[in-house]
Symmetry: C2
Subunit: 212 residues, 2 copies
DNA sequence: AACTGTGAATGCCTTCACAGCT
DNA sequence: AGCTGTGAAGGCATTCACAGTT
């Protein structure tokens, strides 16, 4: 596989979005698309789209713009370098919601096991995914060849869970807890902070309407 | 109120995090904190912390570093310029999870009404929040003086819901649907894209371990 | 001595603007 | 004529590095 020059986080985020959008468009029977059309759909600039696509080395093959099927395939080849089996820890409301939300749509990436300390939450099956006690996490991770973890436990347990995941040999973590966690080098961690997002909207919504 | 020079999105995000962290620390009895300690907690640099705090015009009052209570108060005064009543649209798994997750912790910002088209989901009360049919959204928004909206409907309905919210006079939107929505000028919209976040972790987790 | 506040430097990301292609 | 691919410019955000403060 041709080694593309290091893609930035922002670019990767947009590529995943392009892929989803392009799949929709393809299903609607569209075959080609221009950068300015794509830009319009996602409220971005044509130049940004062109540069992202340039970064992954796809070249439009005609005056018709990008060939949707080929472009999807190219994005796939860039993104799907990835391992695909995920563990989710914390089977509360949010954990369950993410489980069903995510496992419905996807195939290449899948949450294959869920974990919790609360006995009443284990041994169930949610969205095709069985629930286990945390104490057998490491064992399951090895057995099921899981390489990613999602943390949906309360803030005060998040670091503990991150440590357990790291110890189990996981390589990437997505953390929904309201606090950041520390992970060893070589392990990638990202965070979705719902509280921050809402507070941020509150702040800027207010600024914006004061401005006008 | 002193008009602070336009704060960036990134700065606001960090400020909300600082506030949460500082509240925790205060509850643990801590009174003062240095920038490098705060930095350590959230895996950031002391310089970043100092600049953020500088941006909101708070000045450390002694060699002991920042006074936690005063700093919290200062952050509050910056962030709480905001209106505080929120409507959530889409009472599926994710919507319900966010409702209970968010309404448990907060007081200044609150989800006060939830909406859905599905009759089986209405007239319930979740986390202290009553559920209504979408057709009465505008009326409720006015009655309850709601100024922010959270979208947790499937992608194909997201734009419709955004339009309804915009028409109802909402000023800010947080969109959890997997597609961006277009909103009129003067309305602030942000997005949390769970699918993108997971795919991104998958990508970088893999890159990182290939690197070493 | 050890911290903060901050101008200046750096680095990253986006946008411009235009040559080249069809 | 109208699009893409891309070097260069511009704009933001972070980090450096040090003067000022207690």
């Amino acid at each position: 596989m041709k080694k593309t020059e290091e893609l930035s986080e922002r670019t990767i985020e947009r590529l995943t979005l392009y892929r989803r959008l392009l799949s929709d468009l393809r299903e609607k029977g569209l075959e080609h698309i221009y950068s300015h059309q794509l830009a319009e759909f996602i409220s971005n600039t044509p130049a940004q789209i062109r540069r992202d696509i340039m970064m992954i080395g796809y070249v439009a093959n005609s005056k018709k713009g990008y060939t949707i099927t080929d472009l999807i395939e190219k994005i796939d080849s860039v993104l799907s370098c990835c391992d695909s089996r995920i563990a989710l820890v914390g089977i509360g409301n949010l954990g369950r919601a993410i489980l069903s939300y995510f496992n419905q749509q996807h195939s290449a990436l899948r949450i294959v096991a869920a974990f919790d300390n609360d006995e009443s939450r284990i041994n169930r099956v949610i969205a095709g995914c069985r629930c286990y006690p945390i104490r057998i996490l490491k064992e399951k991770v090895e057995e099921e060849k899981i390489s990613l973890g999602i943390i949906t436990v309360p803030g005060q347990s998040a670091q503990d869970v991150a440590d357990i995941l790291a110890d189990a040999g996981i390589r990437g973590i997505l953390n929904f807890a309201p606090v950041p966690v520390k992970v060893p080098d070589g392990l990638y961690a990202d965070r979705i902070d719902i509280t921050t997002a809402i507070e941020k909207v509150a702040y800027f919504a207010n600024c914006k309407s004061n401005k006008k």
